[in-house]
């Protein structure tokens, strides 16, 4: 065990006894620092580069579960009801998010169609489902190790889930089309708008540290946070 007293304490947290502290290496600058337990709603940042390290989120699991359930329902609705309609010379046409993907595919841009499908439908769905399964599985610790895989997948897929960007894209498309035809905003547009806020609230409510503490270790229980590498 190293002499952890010589290490700096993460910024913006009050001092505490050494026994309750955890060790943390900043992901942005690798500074090793001690992290005392955080009071409710407090956030800790790196003592050297000010990277946000973690935040204490009260009732994280319950709030995440509620928000993820609501988001799952909204995402389902958003993908079945019409999003945009067009009326020109007595003809009306409606499209959904998936309709846009299908049209792109038919017009020969299959790669772009797949990318839009992934960023606007699959990634948000995976984001919600992964988180839903994680918070349900860690209710009774220790959670089995496949939860760790899901949690890793959630962190990856979050960056590629782009509903808020798609919504802005739809808005720009709407303005572009408005000079050619009458545009009819569909129900899905408003559902997607609410979903953007719900997804942001869901990510903000979730505390990955709480989940990690409740997941079974890959290599059995290690000692005080400093463990020997395997193999």
């Amino acid at each position: 065990m190293m002499a952890s007293d010589s290490l700096p304490v993460a910024a913006q947290v009050p001092a505490a006894s050494a026994a309750e502290e955890t060790l943390l290496a900043c992901p942005d600058c690798d500074l090793l620092q001690r992290l005392p337990p955080l009071p409710p709603h407090h956030a800790a940042s790196c003592a050297r580069c000010q990277a946000p390290l973690c935040r204490h989120k009260p009732d994280s699991l319950e709030r995440t579960l509620a928000l993820a359930l609501a988001a799952a329902i909204l995402l389902l609705i958003a993908n079945v009801v019409p999003m945009l309609g067009l009326s020109v010379a007595g003809r009306e046409a409606f499209t959904t998010v998936l309709g846009g993907v299908v049209e792109m595919w038919r017009e020969g841009s299959q790669v772009v169609a797949m990318l839009v499908l992934f960023a606007a439908v699959i990634a948000p769905a995976l984001e919600i489902v992964c988180l839903l399964l994680v918070v349900l599985a860690v209710r009774h610790p220790p959670a089995p190790h496949w939860v760790a895989t899901l949690l890793h997948g959630y962190e990856f897929v979050r960056e590629w889930s782009m509903i808020e960007i798609m919504l802005l894209g739809v808005l720009v498309a709407l303005i572009k089309i408005a000079e050619l035809a009458t545009v009819i905003p569909g129900l899905a547009l408003f559902v997607l708008g609410s979903l953007v806020f719900l997804l942001a609230a869901m990510a903000a409510a979730f505390d990955p540290r709480v989940a990690w503490q409740r997941i079974e270790w890959a290599a059995g229980r290690g000692p005080d946070g400093i463990a020997g590498g395997r193999g």
Binding site: L7, D30, A47
Partner: protein
């Protein structure tokens, strides 16, 4: 700061990139796995500079056809008109919708190019072993990570214009080859930023041996 600031690497440890656990690395160095999440542990991302350079240069090459080729073609009985990204911005410019034109211009032209210049700057300063303005450079990295996704805006705009304007034989819109290149630029630059390890910014030119303040 009164206490000694030392990186995890200089103390023979690494923070797991997936779950955050601080783990002592084996001596002599070899493949190590996080005991909690089972992922491979890296003191620094392997070949981070080489991979980021390769992806940055690839994105720069893709950026050229992305801006020169049309992203969509509008067909009417009178003929066909093709638009590049820049022409799309110009057409969107009007007394009422100019703020959106600015947003599309920033997301499609400024951000991808700015991202590539910023990545090259970060790579060059790390390779020169610069120790100046570390705080600003890491903030630049965090900005790149945050805004990069928004370049996908034009891909969505083109998709939904194509999806809606299918009024054959009056008027219909087809996607152009530019969309594919542009989407590739966005994806490749996002991967490039992810392959850059910001911890390299703080490493001293020589393998750091002593804790520094």
């Amino acid at each position: 700061m009164s206490t000694t600031a030392a990186s995890a690497r200089s103390l023979g440890c690494a923070g797991c990139e997936v779950c955050g656990l601080v783990v002592r690395l084996p001596v002599p160095a070899g493949a190590a796995f996080c005991p909690r999440c089972g992922e491979r542990l890296h003191s620094r991302l392997p070949a981070s500079l080489e991979r980021t350079w390769a992806l940055t240069i690839a994105a720069l090459l893709l950026y050229i056809p992305a801006n020169l080729l049309p992203v969509m073609t509008t067909n009417t009985p009178l003929g066909a008109v093709s638009d590049t990204i820049m022409q799309g911005v110009v057409e969107l410019w009007s007394p009422t919708s100019w703020p959106l034109a600015v947003v599309v211009f920033v997301a499609s032209v400024t951000i991808p190019l700015g991202k590539l210049i910023a990545l090259a700057y970060l790579l060059l300063t790390v390779q020169r072993g610069s120790v100046r303005s570390n705080g600003q450079r890491v903030r630049l990295y965090r900005l790149l990570k945050f805004i990069g996704r928004w370049s996908m805006l034009d891909v969505f705009v083109d998709t939904f214009v194509v999806a809606l304007i299918q009024l054959q034989p009056l008027m219909w819109v087809e996607p152009g080859a530019g969309v594919l290149y542009f989407a590739a630029v966005v994806v490749v630059t996002m991967v490039a930023v992810n392959s850059f390890d910001p911890r390299l910014i703080w490493d001293l030119p020589q393998q750091e041996k002593h804790a520094h303040g």
